[in-house]
């Protein structure tokens, strides 16, 4: 396993990039600690796969350098970097048995005999593939094939890092649960640096200790899943993390008061007056729907029963607002009141979180 440093790194697919917009990945500096579990999370086109391909050596950066344990590997190939990769679609040799598939990366590096056999069996055991070791890979289901891809990455004990590019896309929801928790267990056992690219917040948040949220070629926030949920430092993160995302409402904020759709809302902290675009953010989890008259008046447009909870779609003035309600809640009527959990309310200026004064 290796510590990976990205220094002044940027990439453009254009041969002669002119402005910022020509860069799929804008200049970043970032460190991945040895043995950490990371996720790169963002929508299509945010630069996450570009970043992954730069680290693996599939792409050479337009600018900057990549260091593995302090050694500059920018010009080295994937093989020289000793990186293992798992892609969206399983990469297995259909005609080989599961055993031979797992043994392949070791045989390629001259490992044989007892060392090879015991390692292959150990990995097969970790992944629950022992029973199918002698079967040809072509007969296996998509999730079993993806386990083999995983196993082929894990089998080399000396890899500097494992990179995952949307590895669960082709897996059924039920099996995703299994593979995801297995991957997390594997990370604990092998302690390799793992970097997982996905647009799916559940996969990113549950797998990684540190999540790197990307948007438009930039890193917008780096944090633990809890930090991203509790204190999104940009309205984009608030929207992107959480399902549904944070409610973001235009507001006028001065002192310890926000005015939203003509209603005054008290705040926990003091804020300067500003001419910047100002919004308040509150997650649907922290808005409470109450009886008429016990908060801000809203119109209830629709209630979606999604099983585990209900989602009330309401409007405050003309502003749409999502409110999460318990599965047992009985709701009636087309008007109600909402209360905001004040400690969970954030103020944003030009999209960026601002810290008020106590």
């Amino acid at each position: 396993m290796a510590r990976i440093d990205l220094a002044n790194l940027a990439h453009s697919y254009s041969t002669r990039p002119r402005g910022d917009t020509d860069y799929a990945l804008k200049t970043i500096d970032l460190t991945f600690k040895a043995g950490g579990a990371y996720a790169l999370l963002g929508p299509s086109g945010c630069g996450k796969t570009t970043l992954l391909n730069l680290m693996s050596g599939l792409l050479t950066p337009t600018q900057g350098s990549i260091l593995f344990d302090g050694v500059d590997v920018t010009e080295r190939t994937s093989e020289q970097r000793n990186i293992a990769q798992v892609f969206q679609f399983p990469v297995v040799y259909d005609t080989m048995t599961v055993y031979d598939n797992l043994a392949f990366p070791l045989r390629n590096r001259g490992v044989s005999g007892e060392a090879l056999d015991s390692r292959v069996r150990q990995i097969a055991d970790m992944l629950g593939l022992t029973a199918s070791l002698n079967q040809p890979a072509r007969r296996l289901t998509a999730d079993a094939k993806q386990k083999i891809s995983l196993g082929r990455g894990l089998v080399r004990p000396s890899v500097s890092a494992m990179l995952f590019d949307e590895p669960l896309t082709v897996i059924d929801p039920q099996l995703k649960w299994q593979l995801r928790s297995q991957l997390k267990q594997l990370h604990r056992q092998v302690a390799t640096t793992m970097i997982y690219v996905t647009h799916d917040q559940t996969e990113a948040l549950t797998f990684a200790d540190t999540v790197i949220v990307m948007f438009d070629g930039r890193i917008v926030q780096i944090g633990t899943p809890e930090e991203l949920f509790e204190r999104p430092n940009h309205t984009f993160v608030g929207y992107f993390i959480g399902s549904p995302g944070m409610n973001v409402l235009p507001a006028a904020v001065e002192g310890a008061t926000a005015v939203v759709a003509g209603h005054s809302i008290p705040l926990d902290r003091q804020y300067e007056k500003s001419s910047a675009k100002t919004e308040i953010g509150i997650r649907p989890e922290f808005v409470h729907l109450a009886e008429n008259g016990q908060g801000l008046p809203v119109r209830i447009k629709r209630i979606d029963d999604v099983g585990r909870y209900k989602l009330a779609r309401v409007t405050l003035g003309t502003l749409p607002l999502n409110v999460m309600v318990g599965e047992d809640a009985r709701l009636s009527g087309d008007t109600g009141s909402v209360q905001f959990d004040r400690s969970r309310l954030h103020v944003y200026r030009d999209g960026e979180l601002v810290d008020g004064r106590a």
């Binding site: 086109g45 039920q174 604990r188 809890e226 992107f240 209630i303 999604v306 099983g307």
Partner: protein, 362 residues
């Protein structure tokens, strides 16, 4: 209009893809086909479309047998997982293409293209080429092209599967409204239980080529008619345990006893299976009738606001979904609370015997 499948079976060589499916769908309603990969969703859609002919059984439209009628003689539009657009045509021409084939007069064509585009919120992109659009807009273009035909039957095969999570969330919210405006018989195939719940309408659960249940989506979720349906319609997977009913109480493996309350009241002595969802396996006592058991932590997944605690109890793997952050070490003991009021009861044949009583949505 109605579409009726009467005892439809499809075999390819020796493999049965769909087995004895009977189903009646009515105009205006959104129907979800929910099932894992290879459960028969795509086969069923192709049979409904007339792209394939059933090995046995009949397909009727408004009572008229159309079993052998090919797709081009039926009023069908289809949208696939991999959105298909003509890359060198504008969005306008993409949407117009089925009408050009049908030689629809120019004025009517223009009106209908603009109408469908507006419905799919594409009005501002009509002059663009598909590749200049986001994935969501490209899929909406494919949807608009399907809608513009005004077919009686609109079939969608995992139309959101290739889209980013957030786009999916937005389209899932918009689509039911759009489908209601179109007024066709809409059939939407997906492997994701959350798709079905957010889309609403009716859901048919599919398992191994058979429909296990068909009804209003939330009712199928709240009262799955058998264990198979409950498994298909649960994400995270439903937790199960085998119990023995004796003296009216449920005896668990390991010796714990659940009182005969809620769905467990009045059960006859014998062996049964209890099922309960992850959010109903508690880390804190939820009510006075709940009982504690001690399980072992396998792994904890934290989403930022909630924790999925994977546990092992008497050899059974259970997932608990708890509010807040719970950092528990693998291998550590954890106290779990089982609430009889939240239990599904399945008989030895897998049929549902009793279900929790939930408040209905307003």
């Amino acid at each position: 209009m109605t579409l009726e499948l009467r005892n439809v079976t499809k075999r390819v060589e020796s493999e049965t893809h769909v087995a004895g499916v009977s189903l009646t769908l009515k105009r205006g309603a959104l129907n979800v086909l929910l099932g894992p990969t290879l459960s028969g969703k795509t086969t069923l859609l192709r049979l409904m479309a007339g792209l394939d002919v059933p090995t046995e059984g009949q397909i009727l439209v408004d009572g008229r047998d159309v079993t052998g009628t090919p797709v081009r003689k039926r009023s069908v539009a289809m949208v696939y997982q991999q959105f298909i657009n003509y890359p060198n045509m504008t969005v306008y021409e993409n949407i117009a293409s089925p009408l050009r084939v049908a030689r629809v007069p120019a004025a009517e064509l223009d009106r209908r293209v603009r109408e469908s585009a507006a419905l799919m919120r594409l009005d501002h992109f009509l002059d663009r080429k598909p590749l200049e659009l986001s994935g969501g807009q490209q899929q909406r273009t494919a949807l608009a092209r399907a809608v513009v035909k005004r077919a009686d039957l609109l079939l969608l095969d995992e139309p959101l599967a290739n889209l980013d999570y957030k786009l999916r969330e937005e389209l899932r919210e918009e689509l039911p409204k759009l489908f209601a405006e179109i007024g066709a018989i809409t059939v939407y195939a997906t492997a994701e239980p959350s798709d079905a719940l957010l889309l609403g309408g009716n859901t048919a659960t599919l398992s191994k080529g058979q429909i296990t249940q068909f009804g209003p989506t939330i009712e199928v979720y709240r009262r799955p008619s058998d264990r198979e349906t409950a498994e298909v319609f649960s994400d995270p997977p439903m937790n199960f345990m085998a119990v023995r009913i004796a003296g009216g109480k449920a005896h668990l493996p390991g010796g714990a006893v659940l009182p005969a309350r809620g769905p467990l009241a009045g059960l006859v002595d014998g062996d049964l299976t209890l099922g309960f969802r992850a959010n109903h396996l508690y880390l804190r006592q939820p009510g006075t009738d709940a009982i504690p058991v001690t399980a072992k932590v396998a792994i904890v997944e934290i989403t930022g606001s909630e924790s999925y605690v994977h546990t092992i109890f008497e050899g059974m793997r259970w997932v608990a979904l708890a509010h807040g952050i719970h950092e528990l070490s693998p291998g550590a003991p954890v106290e779990l609370h089982l609430d009889p009021h939240r239990m599904f009861v399945f008989g030895r044949d897998g049929r549902l015997m009793a279900a929790p009583n939930f408040a209905a949505a307003a």
